[in-house]
């Protein structure tokens, strides 16, 4: 955390330099995304090709991460698993950040009963532990890619809504907003042109943190059998299958997909952390 680099991101000369802390985690994240996108090209084997003669083989040159209980190559399954994790993570956070920000800004801008009702609705969602609400909803509406994206997005909407509302409230009576209203700018123009840019910094940081969270929730749901259904490989369902074989010593079966989840979430968290430092120099000054 270098205050000198991130402290004054507005200065032209230091603008590019201030982005430097993002390069390493950004590149790693891009690498994971590429892995997911080009999984069929990168994976050494077909992720669903069974080979009964080679069940639960320890890592070797032929199978770098070993094989599972059906003789499927775990490295290939893990590479393909990146697709579901990242697809679900990115899509659900796109939905929740968009819906949440729109809701929160509207609530803060209109105020009164609209705001009150909106806030109580958010309180209701927050009253459930995220994973519990997600499990209960999936039990009702059924599992599958769309359900998983929907429940994760729903669980995350309140965070974005509260953040956007707080940001709107803090700016609503500022002179520039009042001036915009006075010269006849439409509500939409005030919201999008003046209030939104101020809500962006905390929202972008939150997008990073929520992405990490979304990937963890997806993995958890898959792990307990409520995510994307097998045979499509996901990190969570590979782990769930591998869990039955830890007593037999087949450690690779659970370690490899676990490492994939852990590294992805770690990289996203580091990225979110550095973005926060960049966008909120005050935080850095407090910490430095």
């Amino acid at each position: 955390m270098k205050a000198s680099a991130a402290g004054l991101p507005m200065l032209q000369e230091s603008r590019w330099r201030s982005l430097r802390p993002l390069i390493a985690p950004g590149a790693l994240f891009a690498l994971f995304v590429l892995c997911g996108l080009f999984a069929p090209l990168l994976a050494p084997y077909d992720p669903s090709a069974q080979d009964p003669a080679n069940r639960l083989i320890a890592p070797s040159w032929a199978h770098l991460a070993g094989t599972d209980d059906f003789g499927r190559d775990i490295l290939s399954r893990t590479i393909h698993g990146a697709r579901v994790s990242l697809l679900v993570g990115v899509t659900s956070v796109m939905v929740s950040s968009f819906v949440g920000t729109a809701l929160g800004m509207t609530m803060g801008y209109i105020g009164g009963w609209t705001e009150e009702i909106g806030l109580r609705l958010m309180d209701i969602i927050i009253a459930f532990p995220g994973i519990v609400l997600a499990i209960a909803l999936i039990a009702a509406i059924g599992s599958g890619l769309a359900s998983v994206v929907f429940v994760i997005a729903l669980v995350q909407v309140p965070v974005f809504a509260r953040l956007a509302r707080a940001s709107v409230l803090s700016q609503l009576n500022r002179e520039y907003v009042v001036a915009a209203r006075v010269i006849g700018a439409s509500h939409l123009r005030v919201l999008l042109g003046h209030l939104l840019p101020n809500a962006l910094a905390p929202t972008i940081t939150m997008i990073g943190l929520s992405l990490a969270d979304a990937i963890l929730i997806e993995a958890s749901l898959s792990f307990i059998g409520l995510g994307v259904v097998p045979p499509t490989p996901t990190w969570g369902n590979i782990l769930a299958a591998g869990r039955n074989y830890i007593l037999l010593g087949s450690w690779w079966f659970t370690v490899v997909p676990g490492v994939a989840i852990f590294l992805t979430v770690l990289v996203v968290n580091v990225l979110a952390d550095r973005i926060r430092d960049l966008l909120d120099p005050r935080q850095v000054l407090v910490e430095a």
């Binding site: 927050i126 519990v132 499990i135 209960a136 909803l137 782990l239």
Partner: protein, 314 residues
């Protein structure tokens, strides 16, 4: 303070109504509607008709909700078709293991998080600070269920220090019960400790920079006393707030941890109920969890107002 408590309680009512309505409505979302969700897909038309009449399924949704809520408040959580038993007596024994697990985890997480966060702040920029930051990031990024499996592999399968899962009932042997809960509680505690540590570190750094701290120092008070008497007290408020929010996290996390370590608590019960499509049990467990979260957040808010008089005046 009393005024604040009353206001806070009034705000709670709409949330509790919303939460219970959501739980009630879950069963209406199920495939085949509530009658098939509760009676299964193979119920005879007569049985279905009887069920519809009993639960007034032809009535408006609101009437059904009020009937259901009345039953719940009288302690009647319904009948579990899967387990062939009343839901109440079926779910109540699941409370204790979860309460033990989450409290044990909080007892590990709080001192660990506060200590690492406080020391990291006081020794800012040292190797310990850097290490504590790594701990925070790793703790936050580690999927709990995977950490649990790793612990099992190392401590149960590898070193054979603890049994691989299995819960000893507390009423049978309290000591053995706590021993059986140690590994799961530790698993659950690590991400919580990471969050607490981070909050404490930031709050400490902020407090250390305040004028009253400089005044205390310039009076010649020892650094230790400055930290204990002036800084820690002001750090207690954000710490309590974050611990309050962590209770929801602990209850959520226990769903997976209980499944990994086969602890017969609410979380594992929920996963089993979902697998068995036992909707009445799902409803009961989700309702219990969310009411617990709402209750704890009320307690935290009241404690917060008690510690910080400014909150009451807002």
């Amino acid at each position: 303070m009393v005024n604040y408590a009353i206001r806070r309680l009034l705000l709670l009512a709409p949330v509790l109504i919303g939460v219970s309505f959501t739980v009630f409505y879950l069963i209406h979302l199920a495939p085949g509607g509530p009658e098939n969700a509760v009676l299964g897909m193979f119920a005879t038309p007569e049985v279905l008709a009887g069920f519809r009449a009993k639960y007034q399924l032809d009535q408006p949704l609101l009437v059904q909700y009020v009937t259901w809520l009345g039953d719940v408040l009288r302690g009647d959580l319904g009948w579990s078709i899967f387990s062939q038993t009343d839901v109440g007596p079926f779910v109540i024994p699941k409370i204790l293991p979860t309460v033990l697990l989450t409290s044990f985890a909080l007892l590990i997480a709080a001192p660990l998080g506060i200590a690492t966060g406080a020391v990291a702040a006081v020794r800012r920029g040292t190797r310990f600070d850097a290490l504590s930051r790594v701990f925070m990031l790793v703790g936050l990024s580690m999927p709990g269920f995977w950490l649990g499996i790793l612990f099992l592999m190392v401590f149960a399968v590898g070193l054979r220090l603890v049994p691989a899962g299995g819960y000893v009932p507390f009423e049978k042997d309290p000591i053995a019960s706590l021993i059986s809960l140690f590994l799961p509680a530790l698993t659950l505690a690590i991400p919580v400790a990471a969050v607490v540590s981070r909050v404490v570190r930031t709050a400490m750094l902020e407090a250390l920079g305040q004028e009253y701290v400089q005044t205390a120092r310039s009076k010649g008070i020892s650094e230790q006393r400055v930290v204990v008497a002036h800084v820690l007290r002001n750090v207690s408020i954000p710490t309590i707030t974050v611990m309050g929010t962590m209770v929801g996290y602990l209850l959520g996390g226990s769903v997976l941890i209980e499944s990994v370590f086969t602890i017969p608590g609410i979380g594992r019960g929920l996963v089993d109920a979902v697998t068995n499509r036992d909707y009445k049990v799902i409803q009961a467990l989700v309702l219990m969890t969310s009411v617990a979260v709402v209750g704890v957040s009320l307690l935290v808010d009241l404690l917060y107002a008690y510690l910080d008089p400014r909150v009451r005046l807002r």
